[in-house]
């Protein structure tokens, strides 16, 4: 059974995605495939968390933007590495539907753009989990 899920946001800035991944202790590398239940799932980049077999796949779509893909499936079917399905660990770290990673990406894009423009940034996490960023033209 494949449970491959695509995140709703479009990624334009691959370096901002690298910054976002690093904020969770993950690394992003160029890769032709990423680890999930289905083998040989194509991608341009794979995001890896230390000690987790399943990976987040970063794919380029027809418009030239990237999208995030992962399989949240978890099961332990035996001693071999390929019997270990640990997509749940991706969800634990990156949030349901990779929401936290997507949020960190948007934040990284805003920080980068604000810094290039010389705007001051004030960031606050709201009680409901949303992030409010205020850019002030100094």
């Amino acid at each position: 059974v494949s449970h491959l899920t695509q995140s709703p946001i479009q990624i334009k800035d691959i370096e901002a995605l690298r910054v976002a991944a690093a904020s969770f202790g993950a690394t992003m590398e160029a890769a032709k495939t990423f680890a999930s239940y289905e083998r040989n799932q194509a991608c341009e980049y794979a995001i890896k968390l230390p000690g987790v077999r399943y990976q987040v796949g970063v794919r380029k779509d027809a418009s030239g933007h990237y999208t995030l893909h992962h399989d949240p499936f978890s099961a332990d079917w035996g001693p071999r590495a390929e019997d270990k399905h640990d997509g749940g660990k991706l969800v634990e770290k990156f949030g349901s539907g990779l929401g936290k990673l997507s949020q960190a990406y948007s934040r990284a894009v805003v920080m980068k753009q604000a810094s290039q423009k010389g705007w001051m940034v004030q960031t606050k996490t709201l009680p409901d989990g949303r992030i409010r960023m205020q850019l002030i033209n100094t």
């Binding site: 995140s7 709703p8 990624i11 805003v110 980068k112 753009q113 002030i136």
Partner: protein
Amino acid sequence: MKPTIEIIIGTEGEVTIEAHNFKGASCEKATKFLEEALGMSGKKNRKPEFFQQETAKQSQRT
């Protein structure tokens, strides 16, 4: 009041942008770089300030 851009990033990475203390089209210009970088193509909600004329802005200053 200094021109300010307020950005809310939702729990799935979705973004809303609001510009404050800009007048007229300068508001759209100010947020364009963020919309482009974030790949946003959503509908714009224009606040009353957008429809304020430059002349009105000038008269406020006097």
